[in-house]
Amino acid sequence: MDFGFGIAPSSSINLDKVDLSLYRKVKEVEPDIERCMACGSCSATCPAAKFSGMSVRKVILGLQRGQQKEVRKMLSNCMLCGKCNMVCPRGINTRHLILSVCRYFDMKEEQK
């Protein structure tokens, strides 16, 4: 029977079950990722943010919460301009971090 609406998949995060394997891998090559304090400077300055929802802050949080799909989608909008890199007060090399994460997703320049 079609009621015209469906049950939305649960949007809650269960930290007991969350898959953090990608976050752990990224941490090994980008240990500074742990220093992020979610200030949002990176997203505020990002030229892609307005149009695409790209946000380094959300990429980092997404990795910490096992939201790989969302992270991948966001990353595809990054232009690698490096503006976020200049403003991060915790000195995280965000551009480098983005590239490292892309590598794990096996994203090539042209795929982006």
Binding site: S11, I13, L15, D16, R35, G62, R65, R90
Partner: protein, 347 residues
């Protein structure tokens, strides 16, 4: 010098003030209601920011006041102003007349039972910051079940602070740094454990506190989740289930823990409130003793001859408490001197 100075409360504030007054040539009288000096220092294990053993600090402070008159297990029955002096009667029958009174009665921890939704006293593995310090000090605590090590530990910030419904709208100031300090200590004991801090804001205001935050993130991999814990429950295995909103993500979040630590806040000591009403001392809108002036004169009461130091006027760290105690000792010295010159002028 024969002027009597009574110090009510033998915690960090009372001890430091007594030491300074001894140095100035007075013999202060310390009245302490418990059986030991040191106040809350007695309950803590290691102190931020340098992880100094609390016992060591307390011991150093106690040794310097040996020459003071110290009454332990003693309380004030009555205190009345008589001319320029205060007449104090103690529960051991002794009465004292003194020129100055220094109130250093400190704080009390918010009673975590009152936040029923967090399950303190209801669930098996929920403790407070104070309980954890006790456990670090070697106290046995069956709520900390570490037979097989601890695998997941959570810290709830702002328990009984910033909470109008719980009767305390203020920030307790020291619990953010204490939570991260304790989270790091847990990680040092159980490196494989996942440790979570549930916070609304991280108020790392003091010297080197931000380093605790960065080290907690970077060296210890502590998970910081911005969101107030809304509800705690217990599963069939006795584990603690915590629910909150991951507000940076806009999503509900849930985790199962072996131990939950509640960062109970700092509230005005109920004994201080009793003393305040006996002396008709006003309390400020935050529930703590009201100073003559919150900018320039936090250590004087509105009543002549009564002084304050330490956490009786609000949440404070040990170094802040000690600085106030020194200031109060000097203010008492000046008060006594001006009093003397006034009486000799009139002769």
């Amino acid at each position: 010098m024969k002027e009597n100075i009574v110090i009510i409360g033998g915690g960090a504030a009372g001890l430091e003030a007594a030491y300074q007054l001894l140095t100035l040539g007075y013999t202060p009288i310390i009245i302490e209601k418990s059986g030991h000096l040191g106040g809350h220092l007695y309950d803590w294990n290691r102190l931020f920011p340098d992880m100094t053993p609390a016992k060591q600090v307390a011991k150093a402070m106690m040794e310097r006041v040996k020459d003071a008159n110290i009454f332990l297990n003693t309380e004030i029955i009555s205190i009345d102003k008589k001319d320029d002096a205060y007449a104090i009667v103690l529960n051991n029958g002794i009465s004292i007349s003194c020129t100055a009174v220094l109130v250093t009665t400190g704080f009390q921890l918010f009673d975590a039972h009152k936040k029923e939704e967090y399950g303190y006293g209801i669930y098996d593995h929920v403790i407070t910051n104070k309980d954890l310090e006790g456990w670090f000090n070697g106290n046995k605590d069956r709520r900390v079940d570490d037979k097989d090590g601890l695998k997941a530990v959570g810290f709830v910030h702002c328990v009984g602070s910033r909470d109008i419904k719980a009767g305390n709208s203020q920030c307790s100031k020291v619990c953010c740094i204490t939570a991260i300090k304790q989270a790091i200590e847990m990680k040092e004991k159980y490196p494989d454990a996942e440790v979570y801090c549930f916070y609304m804001d991280l108020r790392m205001f003091g010297k080197k506190y931000e380093d605790f935050y960065i080290n907690g993130q970077k060296d210890h991999g502590i998970h910081f989740i911005r969101g107030r814990v809304s509800e705690v429950s217990e599963n069939i295995d006795g584990k603690v289930i915590v629910k909150a909103e991951d507000t940076l993500n806009g999503k509900p979040i849930k985790v199962t823990l072996d131990l939950l630590v509640l960062m109970a806040g700092i509230v005005c000591n109920s004994d201080t409130a009793k003393l305040a009403s006996a002396l008709k001392l006003p309390t400020d809108t935050d529930g703590f003793l009201k100073s003559k002036d919150n900018v320039l004169n936090i250590i004087e009461s509105p009543k002549e001859g009564i002084f304050y130091a330490g956490a009786c006027t609000g949440p404070k760290t040990v170094p802040e408490t000690v600085a106030e105690a020194r200031a109060a000792a000097l203010a008492i010295h000046n008060h006594i001197n001006s009093h003397k010159s006034w009486t000799s002028d009139s002769e």
